[in-house]
């Protein structure tokens, strides 16, 4: 009985559990982000409470949204997409459900331990030994599961999404092993190089590859039109595989690490324009003649808004990786803006579209309220726009301060309006996530949707059956 409930072997159950867990972590993680943002405006807000001090909130926020929300939502989508594309069942639902429990444990306890200062101290790899091992167990189980599923497939050719997703599940365990002090530790600056090899490659070989893979599935599915060019999509895959990994050192471009490593990173960063352009060209050309769908189809609107922010991120990226521009904007909130444009603006938008699409099919229920979906979209979009714009401007103010040699205590006095408006944007986003969670909760528990059938079909269609 318990075995059945916790390790269900029902088809699609693991995808569903991953997605639902992710939504819970999204709400909590964004709440932590919001608290962190508020502490910039009101630095004594949580004075004296060590768990809630900004320095403890921040790693908990980053780990929770990156691993709890984004990774788990992406994994959930993959557990749905891969069987669908392979026209077969998942190799083992039980195993995937087990991985889901393991990850939930890690995120919950891990982030609590980070708030208590139990940290490895490397950015993005803060989780300590026991959690590292559990994360890895979960990852390896998932990789095994998905690879076996692909081997069991009933279609000859692999669609590009499968390439991307398989790539991610191959790279991520390796990147995780080399990046964590539990497994590999180095001294001095090499520790920094390793830190950013890892830090950059969970972004490039995990979030990007998974996110793009999912979007490659969702865009044609939701718009009902085939992908514009398959060869272009393969070019994108191979250029990511070749160009992403060596660029980690562009995060240390001004520190005293070896110059050749920096040069390598800058060159490959510039080359990253190629995969980005191929992906975006492909999405947009696929949409040719179907752009009107954005006015009604909400999941599609989420995915394509994500694609817009992908463009912003990846114009910013290669430019700020050049020495001249990095000289100016490094160390400032500009980078934090870029980080959110990537993980929130792009990949969170992608995967929210995918959750609206996937959850309806996995649960067999229609979304509870179309109106809430629209509120979710607009609050998130506007909140994020405020957030991103503010941080970019704040970053430029800070850069000007550094470039002119003003004392920190001077230019930082000009920033409070920026900190405040970031918190306002954050509040809107946090609220939108609460609406999202509420809507999904109602979808699962309410007998039927509050919106009528025709409205649902327009706004959040389930799509045609089959593949």
């Amino acid at each position: 009985m318990i075995n059945n409930k916790f390790l269900s072997s029902q088809e699609g159950s693991s995808a569903k559990y991953f997605m639902l867990s992710a939504i819970v972590w999204l709400v909590i993680g964004m709440g932590l982000g919001l608290l962190g943002a508020l502490e910039f405006s009101f630095p004594d807000l949580t004075k004296g409470i060590s768990q809630l001090s900004f320095t403890h909130i921040r790693p908990a926020h980053v780990n929770m949204v990156a691993f709890g929300w984004l990774s788990m939502a992406n994994i959930g989508s993959c557990l749905y997409i891969i069987p669908a594309l392979c026209k077969t069942k998942l190799f083992s639902e039980k195993l995937a459900n087990f991985a889901c429990h393991v990850w939930n444990l890690v995120i919950g306890l891990g982030c609590w331990s980070l708030m208590n200062g139990y940290t490895e101290g490397r950015e993005y790899a803060e989780l300590r030994e026991p959690f590292d091992i559990l994360v890895l167990v979960g990852l390896l189980l998932l990789s095994y599961n998905l690879f076996r599923t692909v081997l069991n497939r009933q279609v000859e050719k692999l669609y590009v999404s499968v390439w991307y997703i398989m790539g991610a599940f191959f790279w991520m365990p390796l990147v995780y092993i080399v990046g964590n002090r539990t497994f590999v530790a180095m001294d001095g600056l090499n520790d920094g190089i390793l830190n950013w090899f890892y830090g950059h490659n969970i972004l490039g070989l995990w979030f990007t590859v998974l996110g793009v893979g999912i979007a490659y599935y969702m865009v044609p599915k939701m718009s009902g039109k085939p992908i514009w060019s398959h060869s272009l999509s393969m070019l994108g895959f191979w250029t990511i595989a070749f160009f992403y990994a060596p660029t980690g050192t562009h995060h240390l471009l001004q520190s005293p690490v070896p110059e050749w490593a920096k040069a390598l990173a800058v060159i490959f960063s510039a080359a990253l324009v190629i995969p980005v352009i191929t992906v975006l060209t492909n999405f947009w050309m696929s949409m040719k003649g179907s752009w009107w769908m954005l006015s009604t189809n909400m999941p599609l609107r989420f995915v394509l808004t994500g694609a817009l922010f992908y463009l912003f991120t990846c114009i910013q990226g290669p430019f700020q990786a050049t020495r001249g521009i990095n000289w100016y904007i490094h160390f400032t909130q500009w980078v934090v803006g870029h980080a959110h444009a990537a993980l929130l603006g792009t990949f969170t938008f992608f995967v929210i579209g995918s959750l609206y699409y996937g959850l309806q099919r996995l649960t067999g229920k229609r979304i509870y309220s179309v109106r809430l979906v629209k509120w979710h979209y607009w609050l998130l979009f506007l909140g994020f726009s405020i957030f991103y714009l503010t941080l970019t401007v704040a970053g430029l103010q800070q850069s000007a301060g550094w470039a002119l040699g003003y004392p920190v205590g001077q230019w930082s006095l000009t920033l409070p309006p920026m900190w405040f408006s970031r918190a306002v944007g954050g509040l809107m986003m946090f609220f939108s996530s609460c609406l999202f969670a509420f809507n999904i909760y109602k979808t699962l528990t309410a007998k039927q949707s509050s919106s009528d059938e025709s409205e649902l079909d327009m706004a959040v269609p389930v799509g045609k059956g089959g593949n």
């Binding site: 502490e39 630095p43 940290t119 101290g121 081997l151 069991n152 001095g188 990994a245």
Partner: protein
């Protein structure tokens, strides 16, 4: 219906998979393994810190757990990592950073792990923090940053235990300390000043006195009392009567940190002022020659231990007795001189009111 299931397997996809794997491994080797290999690894410089305790033979002391025993500053480093100061403070100085002390080299970090380089500077860089502030300042600032730097957004770390606090401050004081104390570094403070501004530096060479001479320092002391003491105090301790009401307090020149300033750095600071504070741009008011006299004097002020000021100097006349303060007549002329320079009507020798006359008043000529 197992019989219906075709096995397609990995056919045709083995090669791509191998290419993906090989690429990744190559890249990892090149970008991570090679820099860490013996031949490529940088040796520790003499500024590299060792945060462990050693016995009299120079051997690390091993504690009960079998690991080298950490020194006080070493334990402080662990607190620094645990408390996540790295999210707001970097620990490397770039060529363009003005005011953050000597630049760093890869070997300076050789014995440290995990790295605390940092990628964000919401607060200032800390690589040369040691010796800048007294211990008491650090403790007070960590407990209540806003009492020490109005408007600061640094979180309060009032929850740290006394022991952790002591260790953390010891660590902060260790940062860049070896660079600071190296006599070789005396006067090679790599601060940011626009070398390229040739007009500025050319002008400064005009009538440049010998800044190492006692006479020049004496002359500077006079100019200092007349122009600077109201803020910086009669002895340059930053406790002039004006300082009481300022948010950004005037510098206390007795700090050991200032030993590392080069002549040019001093000169540049005096000439350009500190943007955003009350410290004026003295080049609008003083002649290059006068500013060099000031430099000669300022150089003599830094001490091995910062003199901690108890109170601000009173504006009571008695406190200033014996200090030659600029006569009113001259002060008015200075103002005129400054305005003339601002409006571009300044001439090199406007009726005998040049710098040399002032120096005559304060240092007895040269």
């Amino acid at each position: 219906m197992a019989s219906e299931v075709k096995k397609i397997g990995a056919k045709g996809y083995i090669l791509p998979a191998l290419v993906v794997a090989a690429t990744f491994i190559t890249i990892y080797t090149v970008t991570v393994i090679i820099p860490d290999m013996k031949v490529m690894k940088v040796d520790p410089t003499k500024y590299a810190m060792e945060y462990i305790e050693k016995d009299t033979n120079g051997k690390p002391i091993i504690d009960e757990t079998g690991k080298p025993k950490l020194s006080e500053a070493g334990r402080g480093r662990a607190v620094y990592v645990r408390e996540g100061c790295v999210y707001c403070h970097s620990q490397f100085v770039r060529p363009q950073d003005r005011d953050f002390g000597s630049r760093v080299h890869a070997g300076d970090y050789a014995n440290e792990t995990p790295n605390v380089l940092g990628t964000s500077r919401t607060g200032p860089d800390l690589s040369n923090e040691g010796g800048k502030m007294p211990d008491a300042w650090h403790v007070g600032h960590l407990i209540d940053p806003r009492a020490y730097t109005p408007g600061s957004i640094m979180p309060s770390f009032s929850f740290l235990s006394e022991e952790d606090m002591g260790d953390l401050v010891a660590y902060l004081q260790s940062l860049g300390r070896k660079r600071l104390e190296d006599p070789k570094n005396k006067g090679v403070y790599e601060a940011y000043y626009p070398e390229a501004d040739t007009a500025f530096w050319q002008k400064s060479e005009h009538h440049k006195p010998n800044v190492d001479s006692a006479t020049a320092a004496n002359g500077g002391a006079g100019i200092f009392r007349q122009n600077c003491a109201v803020c910086h105090g009669t002895n340059g301790l930053g406790n002039g009567p004006n300082a009481l009401a300022m948010n950004k307090k005037p510098a206390n020149f007795s700090r050991p940190f200032f030993k590392a300033y080069s002549d040019k750095t001093w000169y540049y600071k005096v000439a350009e002022g500190v943007p955003g504070t009350r410290m004026p741009r003295w080049k609008l008011i003083l002649e290059p020659e006068q500013m060099w006299y000031l430099v000669a004097y300022l150089k003599t002020l830094p001490q091995d231990q910062e003199v901690i000021i108890q109170d601000y100097q009173s504006i009571d006349d008695k406190a200033w007795e014996g200090q030659s303060i600029l006569p009113n007549k001259l002060r008015a002329s200075y103002q005129k001189l400054g305005e003339a320079k601002l409006h571009g009507t300044y001439q090199a020798n406007p009726g005998g009111l040049t710098g040399s006359e002032t120096e005559g008043g304060s240092s007895g000529g040269h």
